[in-house]
Structure formats: structure tokens, C-alpha cells
Amino acid sequence: MSTAAAPPTLRRQRRSFVGLWFVSPFLVVFAFVLITPVAYSIYLSVFRDRLVGGRSFVGLDNYAQLFADPKFWDGLGRVALFLAVQVPIMLALALVAALAIDSGRLRGSSFFRIAVFLPYAVPGVVAVLMWGFMYGDQFGLAANLNDLIGSEVVQPLTPQWILIAVGNIVTWEFVGYNMLIFYSALRAIPVDLYEAAAIDGAGSWRVVLSIKLPALRQAIVIATIFSIIGSFQLFNEPNILRTLIPSVISTYFTPNMYAYNLSFAGQQYAYAATLAIVMGVVTAVIAYVVQLRGSREADLR
């Protein structure tokens, strides 16, 4: 992170290992639950398990197979599309909500802050169950809505709508979380800046554009990176919805679902591990690029 090079003073070299003592408990657990499985995945990815013939070393065959696997590209393309559409919408909504709540021009702002954040506290499973019920075009709210407008327009659980339906659930779940990140950053803006702006006679739009948004830049970069990671890991929502509409949501709807089905239904553990590694690299690269761009623009200002 660019902020690693940011201003605050660091300890002198003579104390060089004290910091490590603080970090080590985290690192030990981190190594145990993340590094080791990653290493094990890399190890697994050069083998192949067969029901007949057992395990054999295959070198980079799994990687070659993956890059030629249309199911992998199908899922990757879908999450990329999801990322390109859902993440901007969700972050824009979160930004609007945070700015509105922070504006001081809202009646009952603490109610709205809690209301918007509340869905984040709802377990993902419950959220999907609820929306799944409501999406039902036979008995759900979608059916009620269609009856109301006298047509069959609202069909959330059809192939044409399904990505929107999933995007809606994810947006609903996480808009409050992102709002809170932005809101915290807004609250941290020193009051003297506003005082200065008031003296200059700046209107509220000017304040938003020239004080608030620049101050939010780092928060936006962070929220974007976490949303990218979240999108590439998309699993719970489509996977639980799938029990309702197995033909609409394929087993390779997202790369993560594909990996899950490969290992737990198909017992292709090594191939699934390969997919996990490739997805990890792809995600890390994209997150890194966003981070670089975000901080470069910040530096330019």
C-alpha cells in the first residue's frame, strides 16, 4: 500500500525487532490458516487425482487445461461483468448515502445511518433466503408486482435477469458497509477545513467537490479493492440461489462456484487448487493496478 511510505515517523533501527513482536501473533495464525493452505494448493496443482490410477505428477498440465477451459472463462467473464457494473453502482450509492448523512442537512441522520447499515448485519444466507422468497414469480413479491402491473415483466430468476438479481442482493448487503467506511473518513476531516471554506463563502457542492471527495480518495481506493476481491470471490449468493434455479445458474457461474463443484462434487481437488491459484493471481494483479492508479492520482493532486 502506498500509505506504507506515508508521513508518520517510524521507530529507530535500534529497536528493530520490537515491532516484529507485536506483529508475530498475527503472523503465526496468518501463516497457519492462509500461507500454508496456499502453499499446499500450489503443491496440489502439479498433481492429478484419478478415481482409477490414483495421484500422479502432471507438471503444469492443470494450468494448460485451465486456460483452455471454456467453463473457467465463462465464469471469469461473468464476474468481470459483474465487477464492472455492480461495484460502481454500489460504491456510488454508498458515497451518496455517506455524503447525505454527513451533510448536516438531513433530518434524522442517525436513523438513516443505521437503516442503511442494517442489511450488512444480516447473515448472507438469510439475505439470499429472503430475496429468494421475494423473487419468486409464482408466489413471491415478484408475482405480486406482476399482478399489480398486469404483466410478466418482473422475472428475477430467469437467465436474462439473474445477474441483476444477484447484483441486487450483493448491493443490498454491502452498501451500508461501504457507506460506513466513507462516513468514517468524512468524519475525520478536520473542522478547520470547513471553517476555511465557510470563510471563502463556498457552497455545499463546492465543499463536497473540493474538500470531501479528495479526502475520501484513499477510502474509495480501499473500498474498491475490497469490492473487487469480493466480486471475484462471488459464491454464497449465487450458490444458495442455485437451489431454486439450477438450470439458470450453472455450476461454473462464478470461478469460485466452479472450484467448489470441481472439488466437492467432482473430487478434482488438484484442478480446483489450480483454479484458486490463478484466480488469486488475477485478483491480486487487478487490485494492485487499482491501488497504483488510485495513489498516483492522489499524488498528482
Binding site: R48, R50, L51, V52, G53, F133, G136, Q138, F139, G140, P159, T243, L244, I245, P246, S247, V248, S250, T251, Y252, N261, F264, A265, G266, Q267, Q268, Y269
Partner: protein, 458 residues
């Protein structure tokens, strides 16, 4: 009866090479009821094995049993009463899919598996093939063959061993909503042609009604192919033949296409809240499904009480009488068990002792044991839910006409998991099911090859 048992021996799996195929067929034509791997003095051994089980029950110990059968707790309670030295922990795994995944995980992990576990017939090969289950032959289980239907026994045995005991069975029948049939003047279809005609008639009269609901379900499709005479999966050692365009499969697909392509199939997902509601409020008019369905109706569709009836499964031409099985489970002993004798003893009691079976039947289960299928009480049972109809007469009759020689793939769970990726698309687009079946075949061929099988397609 033993003919079909013999053929299904090949069916389930696979373990040895081609020579056994001939052996199986020979034995089959001889029509005797002798069992497989025991020969000569083996009967003494098995008697000793059976005695060892009795001793184990006396000695006692701890067991874990994974299941999703509602009556399991009550069955175990009865067991523990009879054998107070044994303690069985029942773990409710929720359903077949989770159960399989968890079992697979525990086996892969090398520890944590239960001693006794419920496994659907169609998933057995997946665990038998890699040697995850205990062969029950040494414990005298061959003597139990006569207790079960041929189809049930065949589903749990191979030429190499006895891998489980049947718990229930699912001979298919036609369940129809009589209220809807009466209201719209429909006649109970005896053939699929009549079935299709009824569907068209109901749709014309009220498009909001669903005569047949099928959103695309691997279990249903394979059972329907089974009835139509298709035998798309044949295993012989490491060689697997997959032909989802054989005569019977096409026969089913062409028939079902008439409903699918005309948009006459409902797409309400099975077992969803919407499905239960639609069964109760007259939206869905018929269900072709396994004989365990009455129990589901009673517990899940209280609103439908008095409206539903059972009829024989429709046939491809009048006068035929061929059915198929749909669903059904067995229990097996996992090889990981630390106490194989006690586990086998519990299993033997669980699925062959009348005290246990009675508890199972009382909960609405459909038996796999011939004595119960033929008992006057069972056949004469008049179901209040079904308006006093003697439903078991119809279902037991179906059990006697289950088509012979059906086999599942050694990786049926995985195959089913990708069914909706392939055949499901044909349902979704209301297009030719044969195209979806071909694509299902292709993906299974490449999976089988990747798993080291020799896969043939004709």
C-alpha cells in the same frame, strides 16, 4: 427376481475386468438364488461372522450414524433399548447432497467419518469403487438376500461384495390431483400419449395450471430413461460405456419433448416452498415420482389432503407394464470404522430387524423388504390422505415391474451435479432434450477419461 439382482451386480460397480461380465450373465440365466463371492466352506465362515456380530452387540461400544431419515432417532432408541451396551450417536446430515459431501470429505481426510452412513443407491458406486466401504460378506450378510427385493439387493451388491443394506425403495407411480382432474374432465392417463393429451387439455382450459412440473431434474430423467428401456450407463471394470442416445433414452426424450417444446412443463423447483404450495393448492395436477411420495404429501402438503390419488405409471403403449425406481437409500459401514463388527451388527439390525423396520414404516417410509411389501396389513392400508385409497397396492405393483438391468455411473453424483448445466439448458430454452443429453454425455465422457476410465460411447 434373482435375474435382475444378478445383472445389477454388474450394475453398481465395476471393480473387476471383463471376464466377470460373462460370469454374471451365465449365473443370470441359470436363475438360481445363490450368492456371489461365497463358495464351498464359506458358509461356515459367514455363520462364524454372524456369531461375531452377536458377540459384538453383547460387548457393546460407541457408534456414530449419519443419516437424514426422520425416523432414525426412534429406530436408534429402540436399538439401544434392545442392546443397552451399545451407544449410537445419530447425526442428522440434512440431506443426500450434504451427506455425500461430508462423507467424501471425511474419507479424503482419513478420519472423522461415521461408522454407519446412509447413502442413496445412485451414490453407492462412488464410494464402493475407491474402496471406502466395508464388505459385509464375512459377517454373513449373504443370508439376508431373501429379505429384500431383487432391485434393492442388486443395488447394494457387486460381484465383489455386499456393500450396504437397502433401507427403502422408490418404485414410480403417477400421483394426480383428483379435484383438478374432475373439475377439468381429465381422465387418468394409462399411456404417455394420454398423459400428453391431458396436459394439452388442461393448459387450454386454464394456462395457470401445471399438468406436469419438471424444471429439469437428473433423478427424474434417469428414472424415466430407465422406464423407457434406455440403459445409457454400462460399467465393466475400468471401462464405462455412456450412450445417452440409445433407443430407450431417445424414446423418453422424444416423448417428453412434446411437453417441453410446447412449453407445457412447469418450472417450479422441486422441494421448494413454491413446489409444496403448488402441490397443495391445485396448481400442479400430476407428479410422477417414487413410491415414498405419500409420506412427503402427508408431512409437507397438508392442504392437499383428500385431493390426491395414486395410479400406475403411464406406459409407452397400452398393455405394457414397465416401471422404474426413483430415489431410495441404503445404509453402509464405512471402512474407516474402528469397530467393524459392532457397526455391521447395528446395520444388520437397522435394516433387517422387524422392530426397526416397523418404526421406519410408521414414519411413512416405503420398505425395501419383501415381507413388508407383501404383508396384508401394508397392502390393505387405506390412506386417509388419499381419500381412503389403498395406495400401497398400486405402488407395490409398480415395485414388481421395475425394469431390469439399470446401472448408474460410477460418478453419478458428479454427473447429476452438471445435469442442469447441460440438459437443464434444453428445459430452459424449451428445445430438443436430445441436444442437452448429448452435451451431458460429452461432459461425462471427458470427466470419465480425466478420472482414468476407458470411456466408450456405443
Amino acid at each position: 427376481m434373482s435375474n435382475s439382482a444378478r445383472r445389477r451386480i454388474r450394475g453398481v460397480a465395476v471393480l473387476t475386468a471383463g471376464a466377470l461380465l460373462g460370469l454374471g450373465l451365465t449365473a443370470c440365466s441359470s436363475g438360481t438364488s445363490s450368492t456371489d463371492s461365497s463358495s464351498g466352506s464359506a458358509s461356515d465362515d459367514t455363520a462364524a461372522g454372524a456369531a461375531a456380530l452377536d458377540a459384538a452387540l453383547e460387548k457393546g461400544g460407541e457408534l456414530t450414524y449419519w443419516t437424514w431419515t426422520p425416523s432414525a432417532e426412534d429406530q436408534v432408541a429402540a436399538f439401544e433399548k434392545a442392546y443397552p451396551n451399545v451407544h449410537v450417536t445419530v447425526v442428522n446430515t440434512g440431506g443426500a447432497n450434504d451427506n455425500n459431501t461430508k462423507l467424501q470429505n471425511a474419507i479424503k481426510a482419513g478420519s472423522g467419518a461415521p461408522d454407519v452412513v446412509q447413502i442413496e443407491y445412485q451414490s453407492l458406486p462412488q464410494f464402493v469403487l475407491p474402496g471406502d466401504l466395508l464388505d459385509l460378506t464375512p459377517y454373513g450378510f449373504a443370508d439376508l438376500e431373501s429379505k429384500y427385493t431383487a432391485a434393492g439387493w442388486g443395488a447394494v451388491t457387486t460381484a465383489d461384495g455386499i456393500w450396504a443394506l437397502p433401507q427403502d425403495s422408490g418404485p414410480m407411480a403417477l400421483f394426480y390431483n383428483k379435484t383438478v382432474f374432475d373439475e377439468y374432465g381429465l381422465t387418468v392417463p394409462a399411456t404417455w400419449d394420454e398423459y400428453i393429451a391431458d396436459a394439452k387439455k388442461l393448459h387450454a382450459a386454464d394456462p395457470s395450471k401445471i399438468f406436469a412440473n419438471d424444471p429439469g431434474d437428473a433423478g427424474f430423467t434417469t428414472s424415466m430413461i430407465w422406464q423407457a428401456g434406455g440403459r445409457p450407463f454400462v460399467s465393466d471394470g475400468d471401462t464405462v460405456t455412456i450412450n445417452l442416445q440409445d433407443e430407450g433414452t431417445k424414446k423418453f426424450a422424444d416423448m417428453w419433448n412434446q411437453l417441453n417444446e410446447a412449453g407445457l412443463l412447469g418450472d417450479i423447483p422441486g422441494w421448494s416452498d413454491q413446489w409444496f404450495t403448488a402441490l397443495g393448492d391445485g396448481t400442479i395436477a400430476t407428479v410422477v415420482i417414487g413410491g415414498w411420495m405419500p409420506g412427503v404429501f402427508e408431512s409437507g402438503v397438508p392442504d392437499g389432503k383428500g385431493q390426491w390419488r395414486v395410479a400406475p405409471m403411464p406406459q409407452y403403449s397400452a398393455g405394457e407394464d414397465v416401471t422404474a425406481n426413483n430415489g431410495g437409500s441404503s445404509e453402509a459401514v464405512v471402512k474407516q470404522t474402528k469397530n467393524p463388527e459392532l457397526a455391521a451388527a447395528f446395520l444388520r439390525w437397522l435394516n433387517s430387524d422387524q422392530a426397526s423396520i416397523d418404526v421406519f414404516l410408521a414414519s411413512g417410509g416405503f420398505p425395501a423388504t419383501t415381507a413388508d411389501l407383501e404383508s396384508a396389513d401394508f397392502l390393505g392400508y387405506e390412506s386417509d390422505y388419499f381419500g381412503g385409497q389403498k395406495i400401497n397396492e398400486v405402488i407395490v405393483d409398480s415395485a414388481k415391474h421395475v425394469g431390469e438391468g439399470w446401472e448408474y455411473l460410477p460418478w453419478q453424483s458428479y454427473a447429476n451435479s452438471i445435469f442442469n448445466d447441460t440438459v437443464g439448458k434444453s428445459y430452459l430454452n424449451r428445445s430438443d432434450l436430445n441436444e442437452g443429453l448429448k452435451s451431458w454425455q460429452e461432459q461425462n465422457v471427458s470427466y470419465g477419461e480425466a478420472q482414468g476410465f476407458t470411456v466408450k460411447t456405443s
